[in-house]
């Protein structure tokens, strides 16, 4: 009897241990290219510099594929139409790389996906590749869960050619100063913070074009606010850090130092931006939103002349205006007002990182990412999402789309004025929150612009110290 019981206990223990120790691929260091990988197409010749007389010809498709079938898990925060578009691209990629299957899985909002990935890393089973904001990717780097992409990018068989690297906008190659300035993620999409305006309401204020100075902006607000129930600007209830960043950039300032180690948003440009916000609220030109995207709905109803929004929101504006019965017909996008000579736009957005899994999967994931950044695939993606493409050459493939969407076309031209908020550090999310809170404090009259900024700087410094 005892023997029988002991055996049963042993068996149960073995089952339990086996269940706990499900095999997970051991993380590996970023490998060199697998020698077994057979190229499926004629690779570009990276060793040969492009001849000066010839225009560089970027590669359009991955150039190597694994010898054995590989399945990679691609976690995204792209839902509905965007999810469908990614799945379509994955099918196209499979045609070109029969040995690689990409499983595209929508994991909820960026915040939800971050929580799931964090849990997956802790459990030792991260996805193979995932989309996320660079500041969240920075936390994965800190956990040693991400593969640096420099070696893959330089690899003669599967990497980018010199022509590719010239074609790809620098803002789409993410270097992380806190982590050896290595490339830990690449972006196949970016958007920018722009001012959305109602031209009819501007006309009522005597302005024929969108305001280029903050004085003109306030002039419109003064005119519009004479009509009851018409605020000039509706600020999100949690603040608007990206809008604040745009206002600071447009005054020639910056948020953090280039090494992300010291705060700059409390300098003159930051203070002027906060004073501008204070003026909007003290003069009752602005209100706080009580619902997400309330400003978008009100804009579509012709109840607000300005919003500040990501260009990724453009399809939603078009839909909201249509749903509201096309009350607003004369509207457009413009860079934020400025005090400096040239316009400036805040370019930001999600990036894609590859997790430490197995060399085969990491390579397959890189090929998939490279495919997403290729001209034709990138163009298809842009047409669905209104994001900006990673490559200059994609513009050719987007000619018809740009013609049909002049608003997008205009914004595309401002990419050259792009600056990026300091999103390549884990400190950026808490700093965003600190800036947002400072804006809310000013909006509610709970702090002067100086006090609010001082408080935000203290929190930002704490976040910077914690990020080290």
């Amino acid at each position: 009897m005892k023997k029988y019981l002991a055996l049963t206990l042993l068996l149960m223990l073995a089952v339990f241990i086996a269940a706990c120790a499900a095999p997970t691929p051991a993380p590996t260091k970023p490998p060199a290219v697998q020698p077994t990988a057979a190229p499926t197409a004629v690779p570009a010749k990276p060793t040969e510099a492009p001849k000066p007389t010839e225009a560089p010809k970027p590669t359009v498709a991955p150039t190597a594929a694994p010898a054995k079938p590989v399945e990679i898990q691609f976690w995204t925060s792209q839902s509905q139409l965007q999810d469908e578009a990614l799945k379509k691209l994955a099918a196209e990629f499979k045609k070109q790389n029969p040995n690689i299957t990409v499983v595209v899985t929508y994991q909820g909002s960026y915040s939800d996906a971050y929580k799931k990935i964090t849990a997956a890393i802790a459990a030792g089973s991260p996805p193979d590749i995932a989309i996320g904001y660079p500041n969240t990717i920075a936390t994965y780097i800190k956990s040693d869960a991400i593969v640096p992409l420099d070696d893959y990018m330089k690899d003669p068989k599967i990497g980018f050619s010199d022509a590719d690297l010239k074609d790809i906008f620098p803002a789409f190659i993410d270097k992380y100063p806190l982590y050896g300035n290595k490339v830990y993620s690449l972006a196949f999409m970016r958007s920018m913070e722009v001012m959305v305006y109602n031209a009819d309401l501007l006309k009522q204020a005597g302005l024929a074009k969108p305001p280029e100075t903050y004085e003109d902006f306030l002039k419109v607000c003064a005119a519009v606010s004479k009509q009851p129930g018409l605020p000039c600007y509706e600020m999100p209830g949690s603040g608007a850090a990206s809008t604040f960043a745009t206002w600071v950039f447009s005054r020639g300032g910056d948020l953090l130092s280039p090494d992300f180690k010291s705060v700059l948003f409390d300098k003159q440009a930051g203070l002027d931006s906060m004073n501008f916000l204070n003026e909007l609220f003290t003069k009752k030109y602005a209100i706080l939103q009580a619902k997400s995207y309330q400003d978008q709905t009100d804009f579509a109803l012709g109840k607000v002349p300005f919003t500040f929004s990501s260009t990724a929101g453009l399809p939603y504006y078009i839909k909201a205006i249509k749903d509201a019965g096309n009350k607003v017909t004369n509207w457009g996008l413009a860079p934020a007002p400025r005090t400096i000579k040239d316009p400036v736009v805040n370019v930001y957005g999600p990036s894609t990182a590859i997790f430490k899994t197995t060399p085969e999967k990491q390579q397959a994931a890189f090929l998939w990412l490279k495919f997403l950044m290729s001209k034709d695939a990138n163009a298809e993606w842009v047409k669905t999402t209104y994001y900006f493409p990673a490559r200059a050459s994609t513009k050719e493939a987007l000619a018809d789309f740009i013609k049909a969407n002049p608003l997008y076309g205009n914004a595309y031209e401002w990419l050259k004025y792009g600056r990026s908020e300091p999103q390549f550090t884990p400190a950026w999310e808490p700093i965003r929150n600190a800036i947002g809170n400072a804006m809310v404090a000013v909006a509610n009259g709970k702090a002067t612009p100086e006090q609010a900024l001082q408080d935000a700087v203290k929190k930002a410094n704490d976040a910077i110290a914690a990020a080290k």
Partner: protein
């Protein structure tokens, strides 16, 4: 069986003869029966608790930890944010618990009266908010509190009152009242923010049904003879309630208090959802609804401070444990079963 052996056994049983030391037989099969439950509880309860304690003593990101001892605990106890969150937690508990229990008892007593028909239907109606998805009902309540189109402000306007900003209002209710009266009060007297009050109203609405059902069960256990005897002695109304219902309901009230204290200190879902639905940051307007659980979540997911967030979780557990022990030690004593 030999006679002597039987006699010896009887004598031993009667403690006449010294008992020979015997080895207790261990019934291993008993352990086998509890093994599945033990494995489940250990895997999903004890191991995570010990792992949480381990993380709270370390610094690092997700899976790379460096031992830091009690640094996180000292940082929490020495920092303003933790204490602010603790005060908000107590304010929330103070706003919700007494009202939930008092209203729960009131409605339970009302439903217990013989003149109330369709008691089961009413009980179901009151219990419904408790079983409805918290996320769904909190979003609906966030719409009710919408400053522009919500039902709450519609009602205020209907009574000729000024509309309020509810979930987006960081000002304390004391401050708002004083402002209406034209007074100025010190910051410490401003009280909980209107946003926290709005969340508390939802919480009372949601939790009251549970208390009603528990109190109703307690009320039905009070023997009716006691009421009849008291009536014969001339007692009625409030006297019956005060001298029979309240003392005999004490075990039920004690249970409700213990559960409510734990529940209110652990509240998270509806606070998170209502803030989100009102386009607020995680801790509500200017952090005025940032209870300890929200603060912990913020530290974990926004700041990626895993060790610190876990230390807050452990501290919260200790606070809950202290309150529970206090309740058992001081309130439990007064309860007569």
């Amino acid at each position: 069986m030999p006679q002597s052996a039987t006699t010896a056994r009887i004598a031993a049983r009667m403690d006449v003869l010294p008992r020979a030391p015997t080895r207790r037989r261990i019934q291993w099969s008993g352990y086998l029966y509890i093994l599945p439950a033990f494995v489940i509880i250990a895997t999903f309860h004890f191991i995570p608790v010990f792992y949480a304690i381990y993380i709270s003593l370390h610094k690092g990101a997700i899976n790379k930890f460096v031992f830091t001892g009690f640094d996180h605990y000292l940082r929490a106890l020495g920092g303003e944010e933790f204490w602010n969150a603790l005060i908000t937690t107590f304010m929330y508990a103070g706003l919700t618990m007494p009202f939930t229990i008092a209203l729960g008892l009131f409605f339970a007593y009302l439903l217990y009266q013989p003149f109330v028909k369709a008691r089961g239907l009413f009980r179901a109606i009151f219990f419904l908010p408790y079983v409805v998805s918290t996320v769904g009902s909190s979003i609906i309540w966030a719409w009710i509190f919408d400053p522009r189109s919500g039902l709450a402000n519609w009602l205020l306007r209907a009574f000729g009152l000024q509309p309020l900003r509810w979930l987006i209002e960081p000002s304390g209710i004391g401050e708002l009242l004083a402002k209406n009266m034209g007074w100025t009060i010190p910051t410490w007297a401003s009280g909980p923010s209107l946003a926290l009050v709005a969340i508390s109203i939802f919480s009372i609405w949601q939790a009251m049904g549970y208390d009603i059902v528990i109190f109703l069960a307690g009320l039905t256990n009070i023997p009716s003879e006691l009421y009849e005897a008291a009536r014969i002695d001339g007692a009625s109304g409030w006297t019956l309630f005060r001298h029979i219902t309240v003392p005999l309901l004490a075990p039920t009230t004690f249970f409700v208090v213990v559960i409510s204290v734990i529940g209110s200190l652990q509240s998270f879902n509806h606070i998170f959802t209502m803030n989100h639905a009102a386009a607020q940051s995680l801790g509500g307007p200017l952090g005025s609804t940032s209870t300890l659980t929200v603060y912990m979540f913020d530290q974990l997911y926004t700041h990626a401070n895993y060790g610190y967030a876990t230390a807050i979780a452990i501290l919260l557990s200790l606070i809950i444990l202290a309150f529970t022990l206090f309740n058992f030690r001081f309130l439990g004593r007064r309860v007569q079963y």
